[in-house]
Amino acid sequence: MSRTWETPGGVHPPENKSQSMTQSIGHLPIPGTLVIPLHQHIGSPSKIDVTIGQAVLKGQTLTRATLSNNLPVHASTSGTVIAIDDQPVAHPSGLTAPCVTIASDGRDQWIEHVGVTDFRRCGPLDLLQIITDAGIAGMGGAGFPSAIKLSPSKDKAIDTLIINATECEPYITADDAAMREKAQDLIQGIEVVCHILNDPKRVVIGIEDNKPQAIKALRPYIQESSIEIVPFPTKYPSGGEKQLIYILTGREVPSGGLPIDLGMVCLNIGTLIAIKRAVIDGEPLISRITTVTGGACGVNRNYEVLIGTPISHLLTHNEFDEKNCSRLIMGGPMMGFSLTSTDVPVVKTTSCILAPGHSEIPADTPAQACIRCGLCAEACPVSLLPQQLFWYAQAKDQERLEAHNLFDCIECGACSYVCPSNIPLVQHYRSSKGEIRKANIDKIDADNARQRFEFRKLRLEQADEQRQAKREARRLVTEQARATSNTSQPGSSAADIIAAAQQRVITKQASPEQQKAKFERALLAAQSRLQEAEKRLIEATTNGSKQQQTICSASVESARQKVDQTQYRLRELTD
């Protein structure tokens, strides 16, 4: 058995997992309408491919990927597109976002689809394309496009594949259920990924020891393979990607870095099953397993739910008792967020709908002052000092927040969980992070503006100087000409000098077309580099760490300067 490491901190909230595991994964009737958000992943938005009134089949693409980092979404059932507009979506702030609404026709008719017959004969890039086209994003929470994670990179070979079967959040059992009932799909998914990664040295399934049945279900499939199952003691939040990597390997993902920096890739159960379906069955990601649980639901169970199914549809089929419900949570009690409306749809990252009763999770108690008891610091899995972060968050002291490594906070909520003063610490951290990101972007903008201004000033000055110099040169030439014509020295007559000057001008202009073309080419290249850099910056600001952001913004800046310079040269040439 492989060795495991123990993370610092962590908490043991009541698990509450058994109630949703009494039945097998269920199916619900197809809802009348499905609302499919067009943007369910991290990265840039995709292009809409359908029009209102158009009939669509199950699995048909609704949006098309236009850039490398975006993903298509698909119709989860057959029917008619009845609206393309902004709808409330599941988001902590109750945002609306562009969605395609489909009225289902009840036939649930598939579009034609085929899987690859033998994935081992396909190249990694082809398989990655299939995964992208199937719209697969990490289904554990972040929604990062899986194909990007698995893409080969020049300098970093991936030698370890980690399968995150931890599911450490209380109440959620979607992965547990999937492992018990779809073990074979999971193993096939792992095989596909191993093929893409060119057979990594180590393949390990990290699982908490509270899922013995899932472990038993997987065992028969891994007898002959090199896949390891490594159970470890249950503790929240072992399922954080970085925590899991430490538990399984004893190594830490550098701050601001990604697992790939250690040559590792981490995927979760749902994602792997989706990859199997995409590659072997040719089915895009249009459904997922979601746990519907909590004391306010008469039935607690896992369902295979179509993406876009309104939450209200799930609730009505589970004897939801609104009066007894203290609040409605998407995700688990630790990291999930409260929903303000039951109209929002299930998306690719919806692992759980939790409707706890009043006694189960009481409504928020008012926060009291921090008594600096330090329990939060004991609970923090990444060894931060939450009480200090809280202090500086209230003071809006961004410098100190960053010095206290705010950006290493994984927002696991362990600190809030133990806080005797009921302070919603994570909320404070989230908003502080938002403020700092915004301040950084503002700063970059301001810097850019300043640099552009300074550059322009410099350019104008230079142009001025050059004009002066030219004027001066011309004056000298005429004077000399005049002088020589007066003295009439042979070989240096005015005509000669003028001719020489003209000659110079001509040689200088001998290649203007060539030069212009050269600059134009340079400009185009610079512009496209700028675009690329800007794209990466946007990605980094929504997703990446502070460090990545800084790097990206620096490259945007240098690209922009390059463009400015080339434009200037070009203008100088044509002037």
Binding site: K242, Y246, E252, V253, P254, S255, G256, G257, Q368, A369, C370, I371, R372, C373, G374, A377, E378, P381, V382, S383, L384, L385, Q387, Q388, E399, R400, E402, A403, H404, N405, D408, T550, S553, A554
Partner: protein
């Protein structure tokens, strides 16, 4: 917080057994004054009174102050101390969680500086009372505290730390033989040793229930022991006393487990608390041995409170994914 209150019980019982009713009276006066003061200020600040009283923090401050004061001090001493603790040291800084100094110790130091005579006359431990003299009963104690009656001769006397301070050229063995306070003691000093044992028991209970971590108390007691071993010098006339005497005299145990563990005014990280505790141990010894006051817990704690933010700055834990610890004031490198 209730647990903290309960854990002072062994110490309180030991004090009461050794020194009579005085501590109990202190306790009542301090708690009543503190709760009234806290409520009044909360009312002035428009804060929910019941809500904040329920956190017991005012009661804890009052109890700690009362336990630190000499039994049978005049009532107004206790009142002034409690008022100062709650109103100035705590509420004026913003109430619970915002006070940079330990409120009970602020109150104590103010009293010690303002009323040195009242603050340094301790009651004689029960087993050392002269023949025929007993500790005053409850009524008599009340009249001493409130009406200013003077207690019978022999009821007040020196503490072990006083004796060492004013031992003028006696070697330790002589002090031990001459003074009943030591010659009749089990191991450290009559009466005081048991008070300290009481607080030690209470502290261990709190440690067991994980109310605080071991870092602060252990560092403090360890440093105190280390210092007293280093300077023990075999018991010559300059010796400031044996390690056992230092650990089990004065406010050592109470300070280690009940005062410096106050989370609000101490350092935050575990490593910080080690340094913080050690600093207090060091200061306690230095002031006891070479300073003007026989005991030093309150001064040491306050000085360390000053140092806490500084300690915090250098003791941030190493965060996941970082190779180095950072400093709290470290700036981002200029981009």
């Amino acid at each position: 917080m209730q647990l903290v209150l309960l854990s002072t019980l062994p110490g309180f019982l030991a004090l009461s057994y050794q020194f009579g009713w005085g501590t109990f009276i202190n306790l009542i006066i301090a708690v009543v004054t503190s709760l009234i003061a806290e409520s009044a200020i909360l009312a002035l600040r428009n804060r929910p009174i019941a809500f904040y009283l329920k956190d017991y923090s005012a009661a804890v401050t009052a109890v700690l102050l009362a336990l630190a004061l000499p039994p049978l001090v005049p009532w107004w001493v206790v009142v002034v101390g409690s008022l100062f603790s709650i109103v100035v040291a705590k509420q004026l800084y913003g109430g619970i969680g915002y006070n940079p100094f330990n409120p009970a110790m602020v109150g104590y130091v103010v009293l010690l500086i303002s009323f040195p005579i009242e603050m340094t006359s301790w009651v004689t431990p029960i087993s050392l009372l002269p023949e025929g003299v007993t500790h005053p009963g409850l009524w008599e104690s009340l009249s001493i505290v409130f009406a200013g009656n003077t207690p019978v001769d022999g009821v007040t006397g020196a503490t072990p730390l006083d004796l060492f301070k004013h031992s003028n050229g006696l070697v330790v063995d002589q002090i031990y033989q001459n003074e009943a306070l030591f010659s009749q003691a089990s191991f450290a000093g009559v009466g005081w040793e048991w008070v300290n044992v009481g607080f030690l028991i209470g502290g261990l209970i709190l440690l067991k229930t994980r109310i605080f971590t071991w870092h602060g108390p252990l560092a403090m007691l360890g440093t105190l022991a280390l210092m007293s071993i280093l300077f023990w010098d075999g018991g010559s006339s300059d010796s400031p006393g044996s390690p056992i005497m230092h650990l089990f005299s004065g406010a050592s145990m109470m300070g280690a487990f009940f005062i410096l563990t106050d989370p609000v005014s101490s350092a935050v990280s575990n490593r910080g608390r080690l340094i913080y505790g050690a600093l207090i141990g060091l200061l306690v010894y230095v002031i006891r041995a070479w300073g003007n006051y026989p005991d030093a817990m309150a001064f040491a704690v306050l000085l360390a409170n000053f140092a806490a933010p500084f300690i915090d700055n250098y003791t941030l834990p190493r965060t996941y994914g970082h190779t180095d610890r950072r400093k709290a004031t470290e700036k981002q490198e200029e981009e």
